[in-house]
Each structure stands twice: as C-alpha cells, then as structure tokens.
C-alpha cells in the first residue's frame, strides 16, 4: 500500500481529543519554581532604576533577574548578517512598549512570585509614545530609537526597494492610473496554549528546556546566544505545540527560565496568563500600503509604484525579513514589468510584531487583490479576465527577476471559475500557463521574459 496520497489521520489527533497529549505545562518536576515578570506599565519611558532587593528577601522567592544578570542582553535575529542587535531580553534604561519585561522572579508558587513583583522598585520617566507609522518623518514625531524612525539596514538604504523596467515610461503610456491605500490590521496569534517554558538544571551543568517553540534549534540558538553557552550545554525538549501560527517562533519564555534556573539551581517554569498572551505577546504586523498602477483601457497592468510601511512595533525582530519577502511578492500572481517599490520598517511603541502565517505576503495578497478588483471595476472589465490576462506565465520574471518555471495562476483561476459556474470566453477558457505568444505577448511584456535557454532575452 502506498502511504503517499492516503488520507491517513494525524498521529496526534487521538491524544489531543482525549486529553492525553502532554504539553509543556503538563510537565511537572520535583522542586519546580514558578516565574512572573514585571512588565512596563507605560508605552514609552526611561527606566531610571530597578531595585529587586526587597523582592528577593520575600519568603519563597529563590531568584530575581534584571538586565544585569544576562551575559548578552541585546539580541537581534540578523546579527549573523551584520545587522546590529536591538532588543534587550530585559529592559535596560528604557521601555518602548507596554508589557515589556523589566525583571523576573522565581518563587515557590505563582502567588508568591506575583507578590514579589510588587516589591520591585522601578523609577520611570514617562515619554510621549508614537503609534502612527504614517507620521514617522513628521518633525514632531517622538524618537523611539537613537538611529531614527525606520530600520536603516537595507544595504545603503533605509528602505527595501525594487526597481525593474522603466516605470516612468509606463505611467506616461498608461490610459489610467488607479491608486489605492490598503491597511490590514494587527491580529493576535491566539493560540489556546499560552507561551510556556520550563528550564531544568541537570547535575552535570546542562540545562534541559521544555519548550513550546515552533523551532527547537532556532530557539536553542537564541538561548545559547543570551547565555553565551555552547549548544552542547542545552537540550531542548519540544515538538508538541498547542497552536503557534508564527507567534511561537519568538523565544518568549525559555531564556528567562534558563537564567532563573541557573541562579536558583531549581527547575523553573513560566506559564503566561491569557492577559499576558493578549497584551505582551507579539502580533501580526499592521501594514500600510499605497499602490498606484499604470493600466491600459483593455486591462493590462503595465507599471506599479508602491509604498509600504510595515509597523514593526518597538523592536525589529523579523520585520526586515518580512518586508523583503513582501517586496519580492508585491505583484501577486501577476506579471507587471515596470516596478518602483519602496518599503519601510517603521518603529512604534506597540508590542513588537512578528512572524505570522503568511508573513509579509498576507498583506500584499490583500492589497494586490483589492487593487485588481478595483481596476476591473474602474475599467468596467471582468475581474476573471483581468486576472487571466495579467497572470504569471512560464518564462515570465517576478519582481526580483526570478524566472517562473511553472506558475499555476491560470489553472487555479480557470478551475475556480468552472467550480462556481462562470462561463469564461473561449480565449480565456482555453488559455494555458505556457510561454506567452501572440496577443498575450504585447510589447510591454517582451523585455521581462527569460529566453528559452535560461538567460534573459
């Protein structure tokens, strides 16, 4: 019997529906302590002092940590590529979002840990927060980071850019220019299992970390970087996740559990509350996208200008990665030969945004498809036909000059039309994904083609 192609049930389904799956929170270890974190009550403030001495003296408290306890406090996901780290594990000098962790304690139970937080003394100096990415360059905009309002590390530029073809000529030639603004908002990952971690110090100095991460090696690398430890001193145990959707690519609990476990030499668990999950966990990014398309009256899109502002929240995390992916896919499933794209990662005083299902592309799918339907409406054309006409075809190149070897835009559109009983005109019903020719190879699409020998024509 062939397994591939079979409708086999998932191996974990039975355990999930009978309550027998063991998640991280189901792991209980003798002597285990519980963690709570002191989080910023302000969107933006200077932190003049943090004093944990009274908290540490409370009966039942075994350890407290602040930024001073972290061997390498600042972390950035792109350090290996030369981008400076920008996010502290525990706030040092400044808090840039409400809910940002400043200190953490490990105690015999959650109630004691919570009581200890009240004994931590922090002096804040509140600052005016900033939330609207569109105002980032206004002269009176609060300055969140010393280097300015946007992420500055796209090579020599402070924005990701795409330049292809001759966009000015396309806009001159266009019969109409259709312009719109698209703003899909932030949403929560909303996993049923909140962020949970458990760090267990082993007798020979290793740490075993039970984690709900979506990426064990990735999170192990983050913990190792903060601790400045080699990987053989850490063992991640995981592989079972109660909902991730991208939010558990962030390493949320593991490093602080590790620090408290090292300091107390006790197993340390941190289980976020539902309120923490909503208020302090990362979200999908809100995006601001402005598109102007140069179109012909018969439905060709011959050029696109686009401005994207990606709301990173307070720190970069994966934002520059997501924006680059966004830029590579900013023409959607269509071939637009003349492009001018500028995308910015803009900082605001909200929780850092992060990966979420479709990262970087969910936004552009919304913007591009709304724009397509508007173009069809403005031109009084059939939205199915406008899609098929501009669809990616074999031999076309994408925004970043990737040769498309087997695009399925045409087959999926045709299949959807058939499924809902839409009768396409014969030239659209019989269209294929094959290389362009004839009426489907107008002058404006010649230069973007790759030649059949693999090079560009």
């Amino acid at each position: 019997m062939k397994a591939v192609g079979a409708r086999l049930p998932r191996y974990d389904g039975l355990g999930h529906v009978t309550g027998r799956t063991a998640y991280v929170d189901d792991v209980r270890v003798a002597g285990m302590l519980w963690t709570k974190a002191l989080r910023s009550p302000h969107h933006f403030a200077a932190v003049r002092s943090v004093d944990t001495r009274k908290a540490e003296e409370l009966a039942g408290v075994h350890a407290a940590v602040t930024h001073a306890d972290v061997p390498k406090n600042l972390y950035g996901h792109l350090e290996a590529l030369g981008v400076p780290a920008d996010e502290p594990l525990l706030a040092d000098g400044e808090v840039r979002y409400k809910g940002q962790p400043i200190a953490a304690v490990a105690a015999e139970d959650e109630a004691t840990a919570l009581a200890a937080l009240d004994l931590i003394e922090v002096e804040y100096e509140e600052r005016e927060p900033f939330f609207d990415v569109r105002k980032a360059f206004d002269p009176d905009a609060p300055r969140i980071h010393p280097w300015g309002p946007v992420y500055p590390h796209f090579g020599p530029h402070d924005h990701r850019r795409i330049r292809k073809g001759d966009v000015a000529a396309a806009f001159d030639r266009a019969d109409l220019v259709v312009q719109g603004v698209y703003r899909p908002t932030a949403i929560e990952h909303c996993p049923v299992e909140p962020q949970t971690g458990l760090a267990v110090p082993e007798v020979h100095g290793r740490l075993t970390i039970y984690s709900c991460t979506q990426a064990m090696y990735f999170s192990m690398g983050v913990v190792a970087a903060h601790l400045e430890w080699p990987l053989n001193k850490l063992k991640f145990v995981g592989g079972t996740v109660g909902g991730g959707f991208g939010g558990k690519v962030d390493t949320a609990t593991e490093t602080i559990c590790a620090l408290l476990a090292i300091k107390s030499q006790r197993p340390v668990k941190w289980r976020w509350t539902r309120e923490e999950e909503f208020l302090a966990s990362s979200t999908r990014a809100p995006w601001h996208m402005e598109i102007a398309d140069a179109v012909t009256s018969d439905g060709w899109i011959i050029g696109r200008r686009m401005l994207t502002l990606h709301d990173a929240g307070a720190y970069t995390r994966f934002s520059s990665y997501g924006l680059t992916k966004h830029s590579f896919h900013h023409t959607g499933a269509y071939t637009i030969p003349n492009l001018d794209f500028n995308g910015y990662v803009v900082y605001t005083n909200r929780v850092p945004t992060t990966a979420m299902r479709g990262f970087g592309v969910t936004s552009i799918s919304f913007a591009t498809e709304m724009q397509m339907n508007r173009i069809a409406k403005v031109l009084d054309l059939d939205p199915w036909e406008v899609r098929l006409k501009n669809a990616n075809r074999v031999g076309d190149t994408s925004a970043n000059w990737v040769a498309l070897s087997d695009p399925s835009t045409v087959p999926v559109v045709q299949a959807a039309a058939k499924r809902v009983g839409v009768e396409l005109k014969p030239e659209f019903r019989l269209m294929t994904k094959d290389r362009r020719s004839g009426d489907l190879l107008p002058d404006h699409l010649v230069e973007q083609l790759v030649s059949t020998d693999g090079g560009e024509s």
Binding site: F137, T185, K235, V241, G332, P383, T409, A415
Partner: protein, 370 residues
C-alpha cells in the same frame, strides 16, 4: 434596509521555505534489528500534521508499510537541526530531509539484500516491506530478515542521513534583484467568497468559500483539506472579525481576553468547497509544494470585494467590522479623478495624514505619486 448578497474573487501565490533560503533541515533514519524504522528530525508538529506527512514520505521512500515507521521529533539531542516549522517549509524542506535520509538507508538495505539473495543491488526493488529481484519475484527477502542479517551476520547498522538546504540568495539592495531563486517551489490558489451584508447593522456573513489550491502533490489530502479549511477560518478572521487594535493606530480598546477579542468560531463557519490541483514540483518530496501559510491569504480580499459587490463600498482597512461597513455606507466615498488618475482612499494616505506629507527635512517616505 435589507440584506444584500455579493461575490468576490482573489488569486494568490506563495513561496516555499524561508525567503532568501539558507534554512537547513536535516534528518536521520535507522532500522531496528527487526526492520522497523526510526526517523529522527527536529521538525516541530504545530498541528499541521508534519510528523504524519514525514512518516508517509519515509514509508514510501523505503517501501515499507506506514505503521513500521516511528518518528521522533522530541528533542535536540537525538535530532539534527531543523530551522523550524514556519515559512511553509515543513513538508517540502523537512520532507526532503527525511526523504534523502530514507534514500540512503534504502541503499544500505539493498546492499545487504544483495548479499543475502546473491543478486546485484541494481536488479532489486522494494515494495510492501520486501526486497524482490526484478523479473524473478520468487527471489525475495523481507526487510525484517535484511535488518536481522545486517545486525547478526554482518555486524552493521542500516542507517541514512539527509540534509535539505538551498544556499542564501543575496539581494541587490538598489534594485531588489536576486541572482539565484530565493525560495523553493511556488504554490498558487484562487478563492471565491459569497457574502451577505446587512446594510442596517453592517454585519457581514461569509456564506461560502470556494477555494482552489495547487499543492503540487497532496501527500495527505485529509491534512491538505485541514489546512485549507483551518486557514480559511483565519483568513475570515482577518477579513471581518479580528483586530488587536480595533481603532488602529490607537492602542485604546485592546482586547485582553477571549471575551473581548473576536477570533472566528464555529458560528462563523461558512460552507466550504475545496479543490486540490496537483501540478507537481520538480524537487519537492513526491512533487509536493507548500500550503501551510498561504491558506489564510486569499480570503480577506475575496470577502472585501464581495462586500463591494453586495453594497457598493470598498473596505480597504481590515477587518470589515459592522462599524466600518456602516461608516462606508454613510460616506459612499467616490475616488477623486484628476486627469487620468483615479485616486481612492486619499484620506488614509501618508500625504493625507502626516503633517509633513511624509517628507520632513527633505528626507522621508518616497511616495507613490511623488
């Protein structure tokens, strides 16, 4: 005051694997002395079913029954690196890692079987847990006997390792151009949304979603349908329900529990019609492409376009809440026409909102019409 129906469509594409590549997944396969198979890989099953899919891939690559294969993805001591379960990379990149490892183990099985059967390894094939001589089906040996021979006769471990990796694709920061493909296979989908909009309450109901996905090859159609329908519910949440900041960019009224945050639930479930197209990739396991992430990308635009079809207003700020729909119905905004320009949504643009037009001190955003 009435309920109006409308239809909207969208078409999307989505790449497999991390953008710009550089994201390894590795795996290790070994046989127990009775021929049962252990797979070690670090790929986390986040509910998408990757462990089941990887087990299917190993079973068919080796030619053994599915229930002979056990996968251990529980820890970093026994599993080699997997970059992680994100970027729609599990089935394709993680799946290739276990496939490559199984192919190596398969070679070792054939080597041992070749000695036992005294038939050249190239003349052997494996099916249903047996190694059989091509053209001479009576000459065969079960994989349990091959594994036993390896263990007790030859003193060997039948094993194989696999590593799936595509090198980092650098980007030209001036043009965005790449010299090598910065992803693996691209998947495609189309979505048709039928909605009902109440012009008195602003309520939008998604009645039906017809969705077509080219997934290359459905390793497990049941799990593909799970992704299509589960993803669609997330897309529906994006389109009409969910907002971390209901009055974005303001942070006021942020929900802090399930009761004050509208995630989709069973009452929002539309009728589904799923179509799986299989246009195989050249380099994915058994021709597979990805579906994980793209499954929530097509619905918001299809739904918001359907709202326009129903009541004639464009909702371009998601989600299309009753408040937004009612405000749009009140305003009935028409685009500004200026020569050949047709300008929608001017009030929410950078130019419309920032005091500097987005260009303080000569620097700043490069506007689309500037």
């Amino acid at each position: 005051m009435a309920k109006h129906r409308g239809r909207g469509i969208s078409t999307i594409e989505y790449p497999t694997g991390m953008n710009q590549n550089g994201d390894p997944s590795q795996a290790w396969v070994k046989l127990k002395p009775d021929g049962r198979v252990d797979v070690f890989a670090g790929t986390v099953d986040i509910g998408q079913g990757s462990r089941t899919v990887h087990t299917q891939i190993v079973a068919d690559t080796l030619g053994v029954p599915y229930d002979w294969v056990t996968m251990d993805n529980t820890n970093t001591d026994s599993s080699p690196i997997c970059t992680g379960s994100f970027a729609s990379r599990g089935t394709f990149i993680g799946g290739n890692a276990v496939r490559f490892a199984a192919e190596k183990a398969r070679e070792r099985i054939l080597d041992i079987a070749s000695k036992e059967l005294e038939v050249d390894a190239s003349d052997l094939e494996i099916a249903d847990g047996e190694v059989v001589a091509k053209g001479a089906p009576q000459k065969k040996i079960g994989i349990p006997d091959v594994a036993a021979a390896a263990t007790w006769t030859y003193g060997e471990l039948i094993t194989g390792t696999g590593a799936a990796f595509k090198p980092y694709a650098a980007v030209d920061d001036d043009t965005g151009r790449v010299e090598i493909e910065p992803h693996s296979a691209i998947s495609y989908a189309a979505c048709v949304a039928d909605v009902e909009v109440d012009d008195e309450t602003g309520d939008v109901r998604v009645l039906r979603l017809v969705q077509v996905y080219d997934v290359g090859r459905a390793i497990n159609p049941l799990l593909v349908e799970g992704q299509i329908e589960g993803g669609a519910m997330m897309g529906l949440g994006l389109g009409v329900l969910e907002a971390a900041y209901p009055y974005y960019p303001s942070v006021e009224h942020r929900g802090e529990q399930y009761g004050s945050y509208l995630a989709p639930s069973m009452q929002d479930l539309p009728e589904f019609d799923n179509v799986i197209l299989e246009n195989p990739s050249v380099d994915g396991p058994f021709g597979a492409k990805a579906i994980g992430e793209m499954a929530n990308n097509a619905q918001p635009a299809a739904i918001c376009s359907a709202i326009h079809d129903a009541v004639g207003v464009w909702i371009t700020e998601c989600p299309a809440t009753p408040e937004r729909v009612l405000r749009a119905l009140d305003e009935r905004a028409e685009p500004r026409r200026d020569g050949k320009r047709v300008v929608f949504d001017e009030d929410s643009s950078v130019r419309g909102v920032s005091s500097s037009g987005g260009r303080s001190n000569g620097a700043g955003f490069q506007l689309v019409d500037g």
